[in-house]
Amino acid sequence: MSPPIVSRGFRGRRRDDSPPDRVPPGQYATDDFPVLSAGPTPQVPLDEWDFTITGEVDELHRFTWEEFRALPSETITVDIHCVTKWTKLDTAWEGVRVETLLESVETSAEYVVAVCDGGYTTNLPLEDVVDGKAWVAFGYDGEPLDPEHGGPARLLVPHLYFWKSAKWVRGLQLASTDEPGFWESNGYHLYGDPWREQRYTGD
């Protein structure tokens, strides 16, 4: 495959001042927050929303929106890395730690699949969503999370590529095997560590 032709003067919309220790290999920092979507934006009224924990668990655990919002939550600032090559530094979120949602769950499962309105799924090792590594986020930049960015609530797992931070999340299925989700079953890496540039299957 011959190298692509460089177009004189083209830069795109990128920050000039990307600190290299915060921008993973192959990524470009941006100030935008692009909306990426694989389907129509779901519209679920909050009185119909719930979050369930199912699969290899002692019993089904369910939170209504009120129960979810009554849980301890925190504000965090993290960098996010999309596999389409943009990185956004210092994004501020408000959410409930996933381990808080899993507190009373008994399981020997090692993997989770996040399930979402609209049918999107993504798989992760259980250890990657506990110990302060993941949240179910309901706020972004001081405001309630916009539907086009995953509101009312999305998964937030900043240490992995952002396709793992599933929008419109409605629950976690616990399993003893790692089942590829929506993108992982069609070319994307099972794990997705941006610092090892694990974008595609076989990387």
Binding site: M1, P34, V35, L36, S37, A38, G39, P40, T41, Q43, C82, V83, T84, G119, W163, F182, W183, S185, N186, G187, Y188, R199, Y200, T201
Partner: protein
């Protein structure tokens, strides 16, 4: 609600022709979800994503997923029960 990012199947013509080697926007696809039949050019395309997703314009079920890294193309065609092409 209008999803402003939604495009028509025609917008995926380029990547689809790289897979099928022929123009497929005029081929008829049958949705495995609801059985509807439409030209590929008339389905819904979501192209601002980690890949390209083609959905049935009637029931929104996924018809096809396409991911490329520039050298490999991964295609999931499970949502298409059948594709009829003229050659």
């Amino acid at each position: 609600m209008t999803d402003d990012v939604k495009l028509d199947g025609n917008a995926a013509a380029g990547i689809l022709q790289q897979i099928f080697a022929v123009e497929v926007t005029m081929a008829s696809g049958t949705c495995d979800g609801c059985g509807a039949v439409e030209p590929v050019g008339a389905v819904s395309v979501y192209a601002r994503a980690a890949g390209t997703v083609l959905r049935c314009p009637h029931c929104e079920a996924v018809l096809m997923k396409v991911v490329t890294d520039g050298e490999r193309i991964w295609v999931d065609l499970r949502g298409l029960r059948a594709l009829e092409l003229s050659v």
